[in-house]
Each structure stands twice: as C-alpha cells, then as structure tokens.
C-alpha cells in the first residue's frame, strides 16, 4: 500500500494556501467602480506598452501577417483604427467582439465613446479574477476527465499493456467529482449574476441581441445548470462503478467484474463523446455566444486527452522514482510518451483546422475570434503552439528519448503548462478582452487547484494497492516490452 508522504501533503497544502491568498488578492484588487478601473488602466499603461512591443518583436512575422489580415477584414468596420495609428491603437483599443459592445450599448448609448470605453474596461477588469479562477478550475477538472476517457478506452479495448497503470488512472479520476462540483458552483454563481463571464445569462443583453435571443431555447440558466449536473453525474457514476469493479476484481476468483467493467466502459465512451462535446459548447464556447466552431468539442477533447495522458506519465514517473510501481518498465513509459507525442500532433491538427478555415473564409462574425487572439493575445496564442506542438514534436520524436524519464518529465511539464495556456486562450479573450495579464489571480488559481489536485489524487492512491492484481491482463502488462 502507498502512504501519502508528509512532504508531498505539506507541499499540496502550501500550494493551496498560497493559491488561495493569490486568488483573494486578485478579487480584492479588482476594481469596484469605474473610477478605480480607470486608475488601474492608467497605472498599467506604460507596462502594457512594453509587453506588447516585446510580443511584436518575438512574432514579427505573425504580426505582419495579422495586421494585414486585420486591415483587409476590418476595412469596413467603422469602429476600428485607421492604418496610420494602428499599432498605437491596439494597445487600448475597444474590444473587437461585437457582443461586448452590444452588451453595454443599451445603457450607454447616448454617452460619449470615452464613458462607454471606461465602463467596458471596468467590466473586463472585474471579470478578470473570476475568469482566472474559472480557467484554473476547468483546466484541472479537464485533466481528470481526460484521464477518465483514456481509462475507459483501455478498458473497452481490453488493452494488454496498460493494466499496471490502472490504479494511477483511478487515482487521478478521483479529482473528477470535487473538481466538477467546483466548476459547476462557479457556473451557478455566474447564473446568479455574481460575475459576467457568460454574457448570455444577462437578460438585459439578451433583450438587445437578436442572435443570443434566438439561442435562449438552449442557452438559458436553468437548462444550462441541469445539463451541467447531468453530465457530471453521468461521468461520476461511471467512475464510481468502474472503480468499484476494479477493486472487487483484485480478490475475485472469476473475471465477472472485469467483464462488467468492459461493458460499462464501452457504454460510457458513447455517453462521454456526446456529453463532452456539449459540455465544451456550454462551459467554454458559450462565453463567446456569437461565435461557433463545429469542431470545438474535438478541440477541447484533444486538449484534455493529452493533458490527462501527460498527468498519468508524470505521476507514474514520480511514484516510480520513490520506489513504488516497480512493475512499470521503460516500455510503459515509452507507450505513454508515444501517446503524448501523437495526441499533441492531433491537438495541433485540430487547432490548425479550426484556424485555417476561419482565416481562409474571413467571415467577420467568425474571424473576430482569431483577430482578438492574434492582436491582443499574440504571445500566449502562438506561444502555446510552440509549447504544445513544436517542443513535444522535437523532443519526443526520437524513439530512445521516450524511454528516458528526464525527457518525458521535461516535455510533460511544458505540455501541461501549454494546455493551461490553451484554456486561458479559450476563455480570457472573451471574458476580459485586452485587459489580460498573468497576475496574482491567475498564478494563485493555478497553484490552488494544483494543490487540491495533488492532495485528492495522492489521497486516493493510498486507498488501494498500486497493482490491480486481479486483472486478467496483468501478466501480459507486466511482461510488456517493446
């Protein structure tokens, strides 16, 4: 049996405490009035300038690319800057997403542009700590959901190589329920109008927005929350039963538990791919309710799948380095490395497919999504492609490197951070516009949920032997070699 080392437990608690302080600080420092928001923007202005110049330098080619696209696509959008002061204007330009404009047009219609802009910035800044909390909460929840899907695939495929890793996977999926409840609580708080992450939840906005009004049959708070609870209960039920059968199989004399696990895993996968897709529209895409992408469900799936597999690899290597999991050999790590490599490429394929079609067709309502990201989020947007694609591609391409723990850990940490950036890029531009920066709320949120994740996962690992010894494929898995 595994015991939760005190050092790791303390580390997790320190992460949670530090993260909590960061989050609280983020919430306190968010502006309570428009005047405060103006002061914050004024104070940050010089700094923001520096950063974006750095960004421009780092991605000179992309910028050139973007600015040209921008000029041609926005030529007819009156709200936008003239070519001459284009660079200057982007620093503090009006958010491009039309919905933000429309969101406040009702109350500030007659006012001057400045007042409208100030109120706009105020809303973005007061959204920021909420968005930071939500990004981190969703990200760690997504890891455990990705692992649950991976686990179900191993069960349904009756894989022979992976049973030695079942207990690690079951440990990670223990985070599913608490993590999911936290996400749903945040969604419910949004539904109670404590924040403005989801603008379609605001009846004022919907009243003045024909597009959102047309979607209220699907996008309304009660149905939204019912769906969320339904999805989470479905996933949790599968997790509960598969864990139960897996533990029962340890001391069983026949393989009936294994067979039951196979059946519910196959059924779960069908349920999962449908609900995961709808979940991604609900929880992520609806933050930007005017924009839609038909492959968004797959895109979020690829992201959660690769982060989940990476989390399995990192925790396995950690446990092995502490002398546990002696039955896990290089070939198992090699296989996890292959999955990390392959799904990273798959993620890039979807990222690019989504980008290229929208870039090519250049339809204003679609392309605003990428214009915001390329202009205001240049470094995180393209930086994440380097972290999620180019780095793992080059590091994990060589077959021998996938057997070296050091390389897997290095690639794994970059992939995990890269997919945090991915979620950041999915949520932040719509929630806070160009008012983003990695501040105390973002770092605090990441560390708080990292601590909670470590705490729950390792706690679950102590509850059962690390070898699922009753599994009929265990012999094959232990002898597995490449």
């Amino acid at each position: 049996m595994y015991t939760f080392p005190n050092k790791l437990r303390n580390l997790a608690i320190v992460f949670m405490a530090v993260g909590f302080i960061g989050l609280v600080f983020g919430f306190i420092s968010a502006p309570a009035t428009i005047e405060e928001a103006k002061a914050i923007v004024a104070a940050n202005h010089g700094e923001g300038h520096g950063t974006s110049h750095e960004t421009t330098a780092a991605h000179a080619t992309h910028d050139a690319d973007a600015s040209h696209t921008e000029k041609s696509t926005h030529a007819d959008e009156a709200s936008h800057a003239t070519d001459a002061d284009y660079q200057e204007e982007t620093q503090h330009s009006v958010q491009h997403d039309e919905y933000q404009e429309e969101a406040h047009s009702d109350s500030t219609h007659g006012d001057s542009h400045d007042a409208e802009h100030d109120e706009h910035v105020f809303h973005q800044l007061s959204n920021k700590p909420w968005a930071a909390l939500y990004v981190a909460a969703f990200f760690f929840f997504m890891i455990s959901l990705g692992v649950l899907a991976f686990y179900a695939i191993q069960r349904a495929a009756q894989a022979g190589w992976s049973p030695v890793l079942y207990r690690v996977m079951e440990g990670i999926t223990a985070y599913l329920l608490p993590g999911g409840i936290i996400v749903i609580v945040i969604l419910a708080l949004s539904g109670m109008h404590l924040n403005h992450l989801f603008i379609w939840m605001d009846p004022e906005v919907v009243a003045h927005d024909k597009l959102i009004a047309g979607k209220t049959g699907f996008l309304n708070v009660p149905f939204f929350l019912i769906r969320a609870v339904f999805f989470l209960s479905g996933w949790t039920l599968y997790r509960y039963f598969s864990r139960k059968f897996s533990l029962a199989q340890d001391s069983a004399t026949d393989i009936s538990n294994h067979k039951k696990n196979f059946r519910i895993s196959a059924a779960f996968l069908v349920f999962y791919i449908v609900t995961e897709s709808i979940m991604s529209w609900d929880w992520v895409m609806s933050i930007d309710p005017h924009w839609f992408s038909t492959l968004f469900g797959w895109y979020v799936f690829a992201s959660m799948f690769v982060s989940g597999i990476t989390a399995i690899a990192l925790i396995t290597i950690y446990l092995k380095s502490k002398g546990y999991l002696e039955f896990v050999n290089d070939s198992h790590i090699h296989d996890l490395g292959k999955f990390m490599f392959g799904i990273s490429v798959f993620w890039t394929y979807l990222w690019f497919s989504q980008f290229m079609l929208i870039w090519y067709s250049n339809i204003p309502e679609e392309v605003t999504y990428f214009i915001t990201r390329i202009e205001d989020y240049n470094l995180p947007f393209f930086g994440m492609v380097v972290m999620n694609f180019i780095f793992p591609l080059l590091i994990l391409m060589n077959s021998d490197y996938k057997r070296i723990n050091y390389f897997i850990v290095m690639a794994g940490i970059v992939i995990i951070l890269g997919h945090y950036m991915d979620v950041f890029n999915m949520i932040m531009p719509s929630a806070v516009g160009d008012q983003w920066f990695i501040g105390s709320a973002e770092i605090g949120g990441f560390f708080f949920f990292l601590g909670l994740f470590i705490f729950i996962v390792f706690k679950e690992l102590t509850k059962a032997p690390l070898l699922a010894k009753g599994d009929p494929y265990m012999g094959e898995s232990e002898r597995f070699h490449y």
Binding site: D65, H68, S72, F352, W359
Partner: protein, 175 residues
C-alpha cells in the same frame, strides 16, 4: 570461404526464436533467416544493427517540406501571383496557412516514397529481379535458417536437430 551451407527448417516462430538464440550462444554465424512474416524480436535475437531508416525519413521529410515551400512560392506567388482567400498580399508568409496542407502532404509523400526506394536499394531489390529465396516453403508457413559450414558439419547438424529443426540439409551454393 566455403560455399557449403546448412539449411535448417522450422515450423514455428517461437521455436525459431529460441533456436536462433541457441545457435548464436554456440558462436555460429547465421548468414540469413527466411520467414513468411516478420517475427517479433528476431532482429534483436540475430543481433542485427538498429535500422537507420528513421534518420533518413527525417531528412527526406525535411527535403519534402523544402520542396513544397519552394514549389508553392513559385506557383502561387512568383510565376502567377494569386489572390488567396480575398487577401491579395502576394507574400508567401502572409498566405502561409493556405500552404500548410501542401507542405504537410509533400513532407509525408517524400518521406514515404524515398524511404521505400531506400529500403529497396539497401536490400538490393528491383523489378524483375530473380528471387533469392532458397526454399519456396518459407513463403508459406516454414522458417529457414542458413548457416555457413567451416568444417563443422556434424556438430552443426546435431545442434540444429536439438534446437527443434524439422529438417536439416547441406546445400552446395553455386555462385
């Protein structure tokens, strides 16, 4: 060098694998093994060098990528400038997303085809070449191990019989 060889025939891949390990542990040099299908782990048991085709694949892929970039630049930008997606910038970099699928396909095309050609050349295979296979049974369900004889006929025959060969024959190789 003698041109006399011994051919040992096996009817099971597991027996073949253990026989190969046994023959090598007795310090005999195996010239060649003929099998009807790839036997997992045989290359390691034979002590063959790791293939270097992966390195060539990477290089061929890079060549394909470069060819695609040069080709699309010539076709779409230089020779007959095209308005791509309503963005007439006539710059390769700014239209790069449109060329990514071609860049990808050419990378795969070059890597795959040049790898196959490399493999054929290294294995001395070409169209209409006469088969070198000594025993047609190895294209069906039998496995054949070929060992050169250096005045150790008796010893080899005994060893091969012991290793589970269903038939051991001495062949005079005509060059």
């Amino acid at each position: 060098m003698s041109d006399k060889v011994v051919h040992a025939l096996y009817d099971d891949d597991d027996v073949l694998l253990s026989a190969v390990k046994m023959i090598r542990s007795e310090k005999h040099h195996i010239e060649e093994v003929y099998t009807p299908f790839p036997v997992h782990g045989l290359d390691k048991a034979l002590g063959l060098e790791e293939t270097r085709i992966a390195i060539m694949a990477f290089i061929y892929g890079c060549i394909g990528l470069a060819v695609a970039v040069a080709m699309m630049n010539y076709i779409m930008i230089e020779d007959w400038p095209q308005n791509i997606g309503g963005k007439p910038s006539f710059s390769y970099l700014e239209n790069m997303p449109a060329f990514v699928p071609i860049m990808f396909e050419m990378t795969v095309f070059f890597a795959a085809h040049l790898m196959v050609i490399t493999f054929y050349m290294r294995s001395k295979l070409w169209p209409f070449k006469k088969a070198e296979n000594p025993n047609p049974l190895t294209t069906d369900d039998k496995f054949l191990v070929e060992i050169g004889i250096h005045d150790n006929e008796k010893e080899l025959q005994k060893l091969l019989k012991k290793s589970g060969a269903i038939d051991v024959s001495i062949i005079e190789k005509s060059e």
